[in-house]
Symmetry: C4
Subunit: 279 residues, 4 copies
């Protein structure tokens, strides 16, 4: 079911606001999605706090992170994070870069963020740690030059979360909802890990547990349930993104914004789902 | 004072939202109640985030966790938690399964959640720890098969709270309000325990303290007072569940949703209560 | 400037809601004030969560904690805390009993709550620890019998805050605003102390610091400034107590509820205050 | 682009409210700005909680912290903090004094607040610790006499943040937005440092990292983006300061309060900014 570009812009603005509302993003950080029709482009907001992003703020970039149109507004300096990961990882369709409070202590102390509970399994078996001093020596700690983005993408490797020394984290997903889900639950995992370390010596999920729990939790059921929840929390506060002005665009956007619609599949589908036992 | 099924559906939706609002549930977790007229059935929402549950989402299940009617919507995968506990514990009328931040560090570190203050006494003398590896080896950490639910119910035994390795907790109650009260205050207890451990070496309530304080706090007075409070907090934010459309149902629902009504007993009852000294 | 009983009822309802809103009280806990015209009576709400208390919920009690009028509603079981402290301490005009999250770890770990910063000085030089086992052995941990209240009052002695083993704290004040101010800032002090202990070995204020800082901060300027702030936060959220129906009462209540009025003294008074340098 | 005094009053009221909303200020603390036309004066609110400050509350003071006009309201007792820093530091145009929860444990434990991540670099290489006992022995811990303010200014020296024993912190900026940005992100830095210390042994940014990251983050792009975000958060909650009554003032204030306006520079400026790669 292909989505129109308007739908995708709306969902991306929604994802930005969700992640701000759930405590992953604040004034800084950003989320992008690969262009649905062109593997060589991606969509990202102009430079503004994620909580404020509107569909009309979303611009198109090449994988070299050059804007397709001459920009009429300031751009994020760290957009190479997105472009370089899309280059290195054809399987990645969405990227979130953040400095969430839950993760920062790990960026600073250099301790590993390891998955420790069923939903934390979405981190994957391992979240590598990127220390840009290895490639660049003393820097401003940011990721602005293409080479810096490429170094980060290399550190990410085949994984889904990379922790960045003294900076934050970058999270990838096979689709936008997965990237949002992984961003939120890797933060929750880090919070519980920090507290568990004050209580005892927690051990990470083993490979089997991590893979099986990730498979289960990244299925459309759990991811869609969380997406509906986060979307409704924004909606109830009047903080969902504004609809586009065009009536056609509005209809499309509304459709994609009503996640409840997809939680009522046909009776046949539901029975099958019930049998398969989606949580 | 028997409640109608409509009243019970309303209260169960309310309980879901309360527990979300008080920080026990998020996108995941669920609360159920046993059918008032049939010990062999229970009521539980279709699969959606607890904060969004409406009375019309509540479905009926057999104790084998099969839906009574062909479902037209996705179901929770972990509903066997509820069914198997109702099978094993005829005295249990309500069950809450959650992954509250307060409890997760204990699930992960494997430290015991012990009652340490008067309201924490509602946990009971002991909260057993369930490690599903004993029965099933490496899993996806969830509770989906009937055998998994039965293993959990066995671990719960005669207690009221069972902590689940790398997953969360499940809480039982003799009625819905008690299950909600126990869920909230076992979380508060865990939070204070975590902090107390950073300050010194807290010791748990002894058996006499735990039993006497639980008896006091689980009486209708304290439980009703907290229930009114949590309900009004939702009401003030416009987050109480919607009333059912049917006028009869609406009247019933309203009655059960106005806890203030029950906090103004007759003068005679009040005097007696005053003499007995309910806090 | 004597206040009418209606004004006092309004302020007491306001104090209950403030303390709930600032995180000191939740479903439980209560605040009282001594009767302005009769040292042998005090005012306290009927049993309900502090956030919900209305002026019309406020009842009168003797110092033996018996209601003056036959109650038409459930009463707090722990009201002897208030009565026995008023008996033992003629200088006390307001009492708050709470189980704030900031304090609970100290109730449980048995570590002393000591003042560690200028606003924390309002605790006083010492906050005694009450362990009811000394007088009563194993109990339900509550304070319901007059002898229990008297034992607590004795432990409080000439101090202003008493920490109660496995239960909470009780805070006294020379007036209602002082009791509220002390309740809030003793909690903040405890929070910072807990964190400071994780960083190093904090030492308490010495007697001179504690006394001088308390003198400064308990003056009408700082206390009134905080009172206005907490009242306006409730007002902005629409959570201030409802006005009484009687027009006379309403006028009085409005006057006492507009703290801004008192923060604009005459030019002469202000100049004097400016010279004295109230923060 | 010089601002009118009305604009500055509006921005200062906004800054007060922002810092309250972002958790830096509560009932206490204050922000000031130097007079735009007279290096020998500064602007500061009358004594009230920062969250409540309105443009009409802003008064003018000499660098000896005397009000220019006879005050008609109570004044902050600690205004010498501002005056003495403006005297000692001609490069400073804005000052914030606060007791943020993030900083207090450091004031109490005496541990250094060191920059540990890219945004924390705005603290500067070093945040000195001021212990007023060295100059004054046992005090009420406040900063009320000119000599106390001068001692604090001396401790600040050429730095931007000074941590005050058992009291709080004072933050300086080359302009108001920088002072606000530094106040917020020095608090975030302290929070992450506290948690990182519980995980391991975090090391501070080295001088090169601290200087380069501060240069980047204190540029108009990042500071403006955060300012827009904090302003919109207030706006969405209806908590922005009221506009002045005068129509001229209103126009001016609106202009300065709509940060979105400045985030849409001309296409030419934007393209240049894009090339320079502001994050």
């Amino acid at each position: 079911m292909p989505q129109s570009l308007d739908e995708i812009r709306y969902e991306l603005a929604l994802a930005n606001r969700m992640l701000a509302h759930e405590g992953v993003l604040d004034a800084f950080g950003h989320v992008s999605v690969r262009h649905p029709d062109d593997q060589g482009r991606y969509l990202l907001s102009r430079s503004r706090a994620p909580e404020l992003v509107e569909p009309s703020d979303i611009l198109e970039f090449t994988l070299d992170s050059e804007p397709l149109m001459p920009p009429t507004a300031r751009l994020y300096g760290e957009r190479v994070i997105h472009g370089e990961i899309y280059k290195a990882r054809p399987d990645v369709t969405a990227v979130c870069h953040h400095h969430a409070p839950a993760i920062m202590p790990y960026c600073v102390a250099g301790e590993d963020v390891v998955p420790i509970y069923h939903l934390g399994a979405v981190i994957g078996v391992k979240a590598p740690f990127w220390d840009q001093r290895h490639d660049f020596g003393d820097t401003n700690l940011l990721v602005i030059k293409p080479a810096e983005g490429a170094s980060l993408a290399k550190a990410l490797g085949p994984h889904w979360v990379v922790v960045m020394r003294r900076h934050g984290a970058t999270v990838a997903g096979r689709n936008l909802r997965e990237a949002v889900f992984r961003s939120v639950y890797s933060c929750r995992n880090a919070e519980y890990l920090t507290q568990a370390k004050s209580l005892g010596t927690p051990s990470p999920l083993n490979r089997t547990e991590a893979e099986r729990a990730a498979d289960y939790n990244l299925a459309p059921g759990p991811v869609g349930r969380a997406w509906e929840y986060w979307a409704m929390r924004l909606e109830k506060k009047g903080e969902a993104p504004p609809r586009a002005a065009k009536s056609a665009a509005r209809g499309a956007a509304r459709k994609s914004a009503r996640p409840a619609a997809r939680s009522k599949p046909s009776a046949r589908g539901a029975k099958k789902a019930a049998r398969k036992g989606r949580r």
